[in-house]
Symmetry: C2
Subunit: 293 residues, 2 copies
């Protein structure tokens, strides 16, 4: 088999070692609180996994379960508690606009996931964990070409992202397009192109609608990133470019079993890289709070 399957564990290893070392040598005890206000199996799994990983890294993690109607008050309390350095809420909670409202109730200096006011993030401050994790994955597997200038390292790559959620798909498309990629962003309604134009003549990407269909985009995509939160959705391998880089960030497998017959690199999950970025963000917030308090 020519396909190389790369596990998130391998990709996250160097970040996690770095984090452990820093926490140990500085003798600090950063604390993360997670709020679970649903029975979603993926959320529960993610919470358990955060707990296990934080323990290994030397981060204090406390899971607080509550009724979703109490959640806003609980977050407010945690915002005020100086002993808590970061807050994570396991979504979905209400599965509607109230979830976006909730994101903005987490104080930005404790918003470890970088979801606070995602449209206007503080520059270079906290980048949302999952998009950041995917950027790290793409760097690890050399889709970012280190020979090109910083900021242009995806120039020439065509990348399709099936997911345009406000917390992952959209910010990810923006990040990758700003780094020079031509990004097709797919959701259930339409397909958009995020791009800096031929020759990367624009400094920042523009977003345009396209009439191209998914079956026209997949055969020309060098990289395909999927995040469809349903077990039944599978990308048809037959439509993919031979040698595609296939990355799945959904809790469900969005690729068919035969993906390895056509991908050059397959990354079935990225969870461990996401948690490493969550931990990294927590440390940044810890230092920020030290400075301002």
């Amino acid at each position: 088999m020519s396909c190389k399957t790369i596990l998130a564990k391998e990709i996250s290893a160097s970040y996690r070692e770095e984090l452990k070392k820093t926490i140990k040598s500085r003798e600090i005890k950063p604390k993360l609180v997670g709020f679970l206000a649903n029975e979603d199996p993926a959320a529960i799994k993610y919470a358990k996994f955060t707990s296990k990983t934080c323990e290994e890294t030397g981060i204090i993690f406390e899971l607080r379960k509550c009724n979703r109607e109490e959640l806003e008050d609980q977050i407010a309390k945690a915002n005020e508690d100086d002993g808590i350095h970061g807050i994570i809420v396991y979504y979905p909670v209400f599965k509607n606009h109230r979830d976006q409202y909730l994101q903005n109730t987490v104080r930005s200096s404790k918003d470890v996931e970088g979801l606070h006011n995602i449209q206007f993030p503080i520059k270079n401050y906290i980048i949302p964990c999952t998009p950041l994790a995917i950027v790290k994955v793409l760097k690890y597997i050399k889709v970012y070409n280190p020979v090109l200038s910083h900021g242009n390292r995806l120039y020439g790559r065509v990348i399709t992202i099936i997911n345009r959620s406000e917390i992952v798909g959209r910010p990810l498309a923006a990040l990758l397009a700003n780094d020079g990629g031509k990004v097709y962003s797919v959701d259930i309604n339409n397909i958009q192109v995020f791009y800096r134009g031929t020759g990367l003549k624009l400094k920042k990407h523009e977003v345009q609608d396209t009439n191209l269909k998914l079956e026209e985009i997949l055969p020309i995509s060098d990289v395909l990133i999927t995040g469809v939160p349903t077990p039944s959705y599978k990308v048809p391998t037959v439509l993919l470019r031979d040698g595609v880089v296939a990355i799945n960030f959904s809790a469900f497998k969005n690729f068919e079993d035969n993906i390895k017959e056509k991908a050059s690199i397959y990354i079935p999950t990225i969870g461990k890289v996401t948690i490493a970025m969550l931990e990294r963000n927590l440390l940044r917030l810890y230092d920020y709070q030290l400075k301002v308090n």
Copy 2:
């Protein structure tokens, strides 16, 4: 400008340093003889350049000019001379089948260019300089993805080569296809595909004719390598994929001036890398002769 122009000098530097060090520390005096039997400006330039480079590296280089009718006898003499470790002939000489015949009169143990019996090269022994140089260029600029398994590192790359000469274009297409690339080989008569098939299911590449036209292949090529030996030939930039990697190995500029508006990486010449590979081959032959004599 987003395009990164990379000069052969930069790419060849590490190889040349290595060669210099080896020659100095081993206190050896490898000798290369070059035969010039034409008035071709590109050949004369290449000969002068070989001379200058060899001097810098610590290789003895002797240029022998002769009438083309005497060339075969001159080569025969050099074959017998134990003081000569490598022979290079500056082509074209007759510009017909006699040039191919001449290639095979150079004794294989002195064939520094690797042109001897190119259809059946001794495995891992001497690879033709220019194709080898282009492979090194592609590795330097990370078109070879080091994350993939050795032998599959071009998997997913579509590469077009405009040149199917027996000494460069054809062996290059074979090398790149064997490393996993999908290679379109273009000459004046037709276009062929060198490929190991979907999923790289074949161990060695196969060659097939294609009905695709150049204007259909260029927009889907990640890498374009040109070697058309005429000053008038220019690839139309308008046909190229945005972010293409553009490499020219012709003595003439085969790209239009606006290539930098569309290429992510542009390599205008590769001569210095070719000479470094020539020198490397000479050292290999030197050692081979030490062993067998």
